[in-house]
Each structure stands twice: as structure tokens, then as C-alpha cells.
Amino acid sequence: MPSLGTGLNVLIGLAAAPLLPGIIARVKAMVAGRRGPPPLQGYYDLIRLLHKDHLRSRTATWVFGGAPAVGLAAVVCGLLLMPVGRQPAFFSFEGDWMVLLGCLALARWCAILAALDTGSGFAAMGASRDACFSALAEPALFILLAGLARQTGELSLSGMVAGLAPSAGLTDAPGLALLAAALGLALLAENARIPVDDPNTHLELTMIHEALVLEQAGPDLALMLYGAALKLWLFGLLLMNLLVAFADSFAVWCGMILMAAGIGVVESAMARLRLLKVPPLLVGAAALAALGFALIWRTTP
């Protein structure tokens, strides 16, 4: 249902995406007692990078060149499928959640191949960790969506979210709460936030997503950063749709801001987990989602 309203949501998403990392950085600085960079720092970085020269290593091939663009395109396609509160997404059809996750997987695939193409040990290390951890995180997302579908009986993402709104009675709260917790963990894992990965570490050996973009520079880096911001926006939007089930789009945007602040606080409160502890965390998220699904399965008729 490509209507004006849904198109507006997409444009808001495209515009406001770099704002989230800015807010998170700002909140972390304030918690640490510093002023920190302005929230719009993300936009300034993008503009600065776009004007720089392309920097591609001698070993890199056309894969390195094309990967950022294809990755960004994939995430934008994902955005087209994401509903906002009761408003359906720009496109919605049966199984669109599968296409959304497929697009995110394609983006990750391009980033990994780009990292491997540079031939640098650190980029490959980041690629390996990112690939392995997202492979373990994927079951949580699928089971979570199964729970939503079971709850609402709908098969498309927009239908699921819209179905949540009216029936948000107390009986379903525990099931949805567990699903939301699982989605929260998945969000932190996929978007390189603290418990799984430290976004602003400088020691290559501890990086996951940072190492992926280690070799990118100039416009390529801009595309990659913007893609990452969009992905964070996507996950945030899905979380908000789940938590603020009854609201209209305005409540969702406020929720997004609050979520960004929340992530900032979480990042300041915790340190990065040891790499060995991340797989159990991800499987834990899948278990949470399965528990949520079981609760929903038992309660709904």
C-alpha cells in the first residue's frame, strides 16, 4: 500500500537514521560527565566523508568497490518493508519479514566479502566473528516473528504489528515482554552495541563491526556508516512496534529517541562481554523468544 503516509515514514527513517548514534554518543558522554559530541555529529561525518577521495587497497577487487552500495541498497529495501505502529509499511505481502531478514543478510554478506577482499588479517577476523555471531542470532529473530504471527494470526509484518494494537490486553503482556527482551538482545548483537561489541574501541583484536569497516575510507565508509545507522533504525522501529503496540506514529518517534537514550545508558553501565560468552548470550536470546512463543501458544485460542 505505497500511500503518502507510508512514504513519509520511509523518508523520516532515511533522514533521521544518523541521529540515533549521535544521541547514544551524547548520552554516554553526559553519563560520563563530559559534554560529548553534538547529536548531529553523524550528519557532519557523512558529509565530510562523501567529499574525500576513494581509498581502496591494491589487493581489493570490484567486490570491495560494489559491496557498500549493494549493502546500503539492501538495507533501504528492508526499510520499505518496516511498518510504523498501526500504519502499514510501504510494501507488505505474505512473508515480507523473510525478505526483510534476507536483505539484512545480503547487507551483512556484502560487508563480510568486502572485508575479506582487502586481505587484511583484522578485517577477516571481524568478518569471521560478525558472520558466526549473526548466524547464532538468526534463530532468535525467526522464533520471535513466529511468536508475533501466532499472536496475531497474520502472515505479513504490517499485519502482525497492526494486529498487536487492539488486543494488547494484560494476558498477552508476558509473552510479548519476552519477545521484546529477545529482540532487544538481538538488536544489541546485530548493531555492534556494548554487551556484544564495543563500537568505539581502537584495539583491532577486540573489534567485530569496527574491524569490518577498517579498510573502508571516504565515500565507501560513508555508505557503510549510513547503512549501519539505517539498520539500527530498523531494529529500533521493530522494537518500538512491539513495545508501543497501541500507539500512532508520533508515539513511535518519541519512543525511538528514548530507546537511543536507553542504549546509551546501557553502554555506559556495562563492559564488553568476553568473546566466548557471546554465543551463549545469543542462544539465550533464542531461548527467551521460544519461551515467549510457548506462552503465546498456550494463552491464545
Binding site: 576513494h54 567486490v63 510494501f91 512473508g95 534476507g102 554478506w109 575479506l116 521460544a290
Partner: protein
């Protein structure tokens, strides 16, 4: 009708001619394969799209045998990729074997033609005796092809293991057909109806069919021969074996289910369990292999597992009265079987080109080949992306159909199908994720980064007869994605019991349109970023400022999969040989690890040892003392009297 006889005649005469023409076989062989394959391909596609099947019955002077050959929709779905892949592999093979000795060449093409003929006959046979003769003929001809370079010990071991597994499978099938043919005089498929059977016999027959066809399909736990045999064969043969031959196992299973009309519920659970476990173990072991072709062989185990998973889900849905879910799941199975043949054979041909260009198959000694072998590299990328199931290629359509079926059974179904749907969703997510890691590793380590050995540096694209099949298969993968909705619609009513409602077909057109738009957007963005006009600077890769970086400092294949191999430790027993550095000035330190197949290590090797121990018992009977032999005769007489006289 006579198309079938014509092609069989072309193939058999071709085989004999190749056996005679030693040097000329390199050219004649592929010519005959393609010549025989094309008319049949046209017929298969005709049958598939027009829906009316073809049957030819001729008397055959063998007890209970009759030359009953037919092509219906189910056979057509499997015979189309078979003919395409066999033809292209034959063309590829002529280039791949140009340095082989002429004597071996003649015999090789003789066996290749017989293999193609017997595989097609397996799909077309409508009589049990013809089916068994074709089935064993397929096993024997591929046995000779696997042992093409039989001088090495491991190839001989692989050949032995392959034919032994094939024969044990055939033994189950012999018992299966004997049970089916019980009572009824003729052994034609049409003559059987298993309606009035006792449940016990029906279950035993199904288990025999699963074991017999599971061995050929490569399902866990019968898969142990596959990662040995496929890499040992020449690449174009492994492409045919991994691409289409294991599908004859799936075809056989579907045909058996069609004959045993009323399935029990636990059959579907068993199929789904075997499918899931094959998928998980297959992809994990694929990720752990150091040899390019072994990665692809284990990946075949995974994909066959997914197909069986889809068949199991379809059976369960049909049993619980959900025709739409059944149709979706069966279509997913057939679609995946059709397309896996294309991209798996593409990847094997690519691996073959790499192996011939660098004479190397260990991934840790390759690297940087995309620059040196652009066409093979690009085709490899398309193959890898397709097999992982990423949009917009044909692998994704198969995943979409299966997951849509699973999601529907979660939402609509009550009771058991919900659990099944959840299991499929979770399992497929994990397997898909690990497959992405496995093939990122395969493509990344082999084609991207810096060349790790002198052979890799000297690599270049294969000659023309090898290049065209690779390019054609890559284009076919893209083409299949383009015609996905129409073709999926055709596949829907191949297997009975599935009703294809309008709702789902509309959704598939939506997906198709969305993906088309998305790829256009991606294409546009790539062109925009290329044309951005900023000058490109080409410095060396950042190595933390290390003064003299070497290619060997890049990530190796084993380390790429290390996070997952540590998490799934008990499924992947690793055999280590390590010499730790000792003393103040350590001399030699060595560390070598090899992942062993858990099924082989825990199940078959102990079983073989125990069997040897048991079979050693009668050997003591032949002790050479004549007196005890005579006593043996007398005791046999008394035992017989006691047993039989009263």
C-alpha cells in the same frame, strides 16, 4: 515416444564408439552426451509444462522384468536438471581431461555415457527390475568414474567406500521392491496397490525405502561415503554426482511415498528429524573442511537435508488436512532439488577450474584468485550467493517457500504442526546462518585477499570448453530467479495432495516484483558510487604499521570458522597431532588438526571393529585337523536327526 528410444540408442552407441575411439573420445564423448540429452530435455520440459505424462511399455526377456519407461511430472522435474548438468559437465570434461592418457579417456567417456543413460533410466523406469538394474548400473558406472585416477590410496578407499555404501543401499531397495512385489505377479509400479497392507509391513517397507534411498541421497547417518567419493572424482563427474545423482535418491523417496499411499504420522516426523540433523551436521562439517571439494560435498548433505525437511513438513501438513501448506512445502522441496542441481554443479565446476589452474585444493594455499580468474570468480560468487539463499537469486525462492509453509503451519495449525513449523523455522534460521559463514569462508579464502602460494599467483582462467559451461550455469541461476513465480506455480501440482490457493501465488509475484525493484535500486547505487568521480588512491592494505606483511598473515580457513567450531565442539570431534615446543631452545614444533565425521567416528568405525571380531569367530573352524572335520560331519547328522526327525 520414440524420443526416449532414440536417445537411449544414441547414448549406448556413443558409449561403444567412445570405448573404441581412444584418442577421439575426448570430442566424441561430450558430443554423444549432448546429442542424447537435448531431445529428452525438450520432452521433459514439455511434460512439465503441458502436464500430460508419457508411458512406453515393451516386453523384456527377464523374469518379472518389462521395459516400461515413462515420463510424468515428478520424473520431469528431476530429469530436466539431470540432462542440463550432464550435458554441460560433459562439455566441461572435454577441456578438463585434455592432459589425461588416451586409454583411460576412452573408458572414461564410456562410463560417463552409461552413467547419464542409467541415471535417466532410473528416473523414467516404471518397472522394479528395470529400476534396480538402472540403479546398480548408475552406481557401478560412477564407481569407475570416481576411480579415474585410482593410483592414489585415498581415491581407491573412496571408491571402495562409495560402491559398498551404494550396494548396501541397493540391498535395502531389493528388499523394498521384493516386499512391494509380494503376491502381485508383475513388478510394474502401476500394478501395485498397497491399500490393504498390514501397518507393520507398511512401516517396514517405508523404513527400507528411506534407508535405501537415503544412502544414495546422502542423508545422515548414511552420508559417510559422500565426502570421500565426490572430491575423489574428477570435477565434472563430482558436479554430476553431487548435483543430480543424489537427487535420484530424493526422487526414489518421493516415488516410494507415492506408492505407499497412506503415510503414518511418524514418517513425517522421522523425515523432518533426519532432514534437520543432516542439514545441521552437513553445514557444520562443510564449514570445517580444508579442501574445496569436501566443503561442497558436505554442503550437498546439508541441502539434501533441507529437501527432506520440506518433504517431511509437506507430508505432515497433508496428513493434518492443510493442502496449502502441503503444496508450499512440496514446491519448496522440488524447487530446491531443481536449483541445487544448478548452483552445486556450478560450484563444483568452479572448484575444478581452480584445482586445474593451481593443482591445489587446500583452501589455505589459495587466495586472490578473483583478480587472476575473473570469469570463474564471478561465477563462483553467483553460485555461493545462490547456495546461501540470499535474495535476489534462486536459492532465496526455495527458502521463502519453505519458510512461508512453516509460518503458515505455525499460525493456522493446532497441535503438532505448530511444533513442526517452529522446529523448521528455528532449524532453517540456524542452518541458513551457518551456510552463509561456510560459503563466505569458501569464496573469501579462495578468491579474495592475497594469493597465499606461488601456484595461486600463477593461476589464470580455464580454456574455453570449461568457461562456457560455468558461464551458462551462472546465467541459469539468474534466469531461474527471473522466472521464479511462473515456474513455482508449475511445480505446485506435481505432487498430489496439494491445493494451490490464489493467495500464496499472488504473494510470490509480490516478492518477485519487490526483489526486481530492489536489484534495480542496488544496480543504480553501484553505478552512482562508481561514477562519483572522486579519484581513487591505491595504497597497500593497513597492517597495523607492520613493516613487512606476508600473504600468510591473512586469516586461514580454519580460523574463519573457529567461533562456531568451538561452540559446536561435541558435534565436530577434532583429531589433533601436536608437537609442543619444549626446552629452552625448542627445535621442531608442529600442530596438525583434522575434523573427523562424528557419524563415522562414533558409529561406523566401532561397528566395523565389532563386525570384524564377530566374523573372526567362524574362522577358527578351519583349523586343519581332519579328525575334527569328520566329527563335524557326524555331529551335523545327529543334530539334524534330533531337530527334524521327531
Amino acid at each position: 515416444m520414440n524420443v526416449m528410444l532414440l536417445s537411449l540408442a544414441v547414448w549406448s552407441c556413443g558409449a561403444l564408439i567412445c570405448l573404441a575411439a581412444r584418442r577421439g573420445a575426448a570430442l566424441l564423448g561430450p558430443l554423444f552426451v549432448v546429442g542424447g540429452a537435448m531431445p529428452l530435455l525438450v520432452q521433459s520440459l514439455q511434460v512439465l509444462f503441458s502436464g500430460q505424462s508419457v508411458v512406453l511399455w515393451m516386453p523384456w526377456q527377464v523374469p518379472f522384468g518389462s521395459f516400461c519407461v515413462g515420463m510424468d511430472a515428478l520424473s520431469a522435474v528431476f530429469s530436466a536438471p539431470l540432462l542440463i548438468v550432464s550435458a554441460l559437465s560433459a562439455v566441461y570434461g572435454s577441456g578438463y581431461l585434455r592432459k589425461a592418457p588416451p586409454a583411460a579417456l576412452g573408458f572414461h567417456w564410456f562410463c560417463f555415457l552409461l552413467l547419464t543413460m542409467s541415471m535417466w533410466l532410473v528416473l523414467a523406469a516404471r518397472n522394479a527390475v528395470l529400476f534396480l538394474v538402472a540403479w546398480e548400473g548408475m552406481a557401478l558406472s560412477s564407481f569407475f568414474l570416481v576411480l579415474f585416477d585410482g593410483r592414489e590410496r585415498h581415491v581407491r578407499h573412496a571408491g571402495w567406500l562409495y560402491l559398498t555404501a551404494g550396494h548396501l543401499g541397493a540391498a535395502c531397495l531389493i528388499a523394498f521392491f521384493a516386499l512391494l512385489g509380494r503376491g502381485s505377479g508383475s513388478m510394474d509400479f502401476a500394478a501395485w496397490d498397497t491399500a490393504g497392507w498390514a501397518p507393520g509391513v507398511r512401516h517396514a517397507t517405508f523404513l527400507l525405502a528411506l534407508a535405501g534411498f537415503g544412502v544414495k541421497a546422502g542423508l545422515v547417518p548414511w552420508h559417510v561415503w559422500l565426502p570421500e567419493a565426490h572430491p575423489a572424482a574428477p570435477s565434472h563427474v563430482s558436479a554430476v554426482m553431487s548435483g543430480v545423482m543424489i537427487k535420484t535418491g530424493i526422487y526414489g523417496l518421493l516415488r516410494a511415498l507415492e506408492i505407499l499411499a497412506v503415510p503414518a504420522v511418524w514418517w513425517s516426523w522421522l523425515l523432518m528429524g533426519v532432514g534437520l540433523f543432516s542439514g545441521l551436521l552437513g553445514v557444520l562439517l562443510a564449514g570445517m573442511q580444508a579442501d574445496t571439494k569436501r566443503v561442497l560435498a558436505y554442503s550437498s548433505v546439508e541441502n539434501v537435508g533441507l529437501i527432506t525437511l520440506a518433504v517431511g513438513l509437506g507430508l505432515l501438513a497433508r496428513h493434518c488436512g492443510q493442502p496449502v501448506i502441503a503444496a508450499l512445502a512440496f514446491t519448496a522441496a522440488l524447487w530446491h532439488a531443481f536449483n541445487h542441481a544448478l548452483f552445486k554443479s556450478l560450484l563444483f565446476l568452479v572448484a575444478g577450474a581452480v584445482a586445474q589452474a593451481t593443482r591445489l585444493r587446500t583452501m589455505d594455499r589459495l587466495g586472490g584468485l578473483l583478480r587472476r580468474m575473473p570469469i570463474t570468480g564471478a561465477a563462483g560468487l553467483i553460485g555461493a550467493t545462490a547456495i546461501v539463499g540470499l535474495p535476489p537469486l534462486n536459492g532465496f525462492v526455495g527458502e521463502y517457500l519453505l519458510l512461508a509453509a512453516a509460518m503458515r503451519s505455525v499460525t493456522i495449525g493446532a497441535g503438532m504442526p505448530v511444533l513442526a513449523g517452529l522446529a523448521v523455522l528455528g532449524g532453517l534460521a540456524l542452518i541458513g546462518g551457518i551456510a552463509a559463514v561456510c560459503f563466505a569462508r569458501f569464496f573469501g579464502i579462495v578468491f579474495l585477499g592475497e594469493a597465499r602460494s606461488s601456484e595461486a599467483v600463477a593461476a589464470n582462467d580455464p580454456p574455453v570448453p570449461m568457461r562456457w559451461p560455468i558461464a551458462t550455469l551462472a546465467l541459469l541461476c539468474l534466469g531461474m530467479a527471473a522466472i521464479a513465480p511462473a515456474f513455482a506455480g508449475r511445480l505446485a501440482n506435481v505432487l498430489p495432495g496439494g491445493a494451490w490457493l490464489g493467495g500464496v501465488e499472488k504473494a510470490i509475484w509480490h516478492v518477485w516484483a519487490f526483489l526486481l525493484g530492489g536489484s534495480a535500486l542496488a544496480g543504480g547505487m553501484v553505478v552512482w558510487s562508481a561514477m562519483h568521480g572522486r579519484p581513487v588512491v591505491r595504497p597497500a592494505t593497513w597492517g597495523c604499521g607492520y613493516a613487512a606483511p606476508t600473504p600468510r598473515m591473512q586469516y586461514t580457513a580454519a580460523s574463519f570458522f573457529e567461533p562456531l567450531s568451538r561452540f559446536f565442539e561435541d558435534l565436530l570431534p577434532v583429531r589433533k597431532k601436536e608437537v609442543l615446543p619444549a626446552g629452552l631452545f625448542p627445535h621442531r614444533a608442529a600442530w596438525r588438526a583434522r575434523v573427523t565425521d562424528v557419524v563415522m567416528a562414533r558409529l561406523y568405525q566401532p561397528l566395523a571393529k565389532w563386525l570384524d571380531w564377530i566374523l573372526a569367530k567362524p574362522r577358527r573352524l578351519q583349523h586343519g585337523r581332519l579328525h575334527l572335520y569328520l566329527l563335524g560331519i557326524v555331529l551335523a547328522l545327529f543334530a539334524l536327526m534330533i531337530w527334524k526327525l521327531e
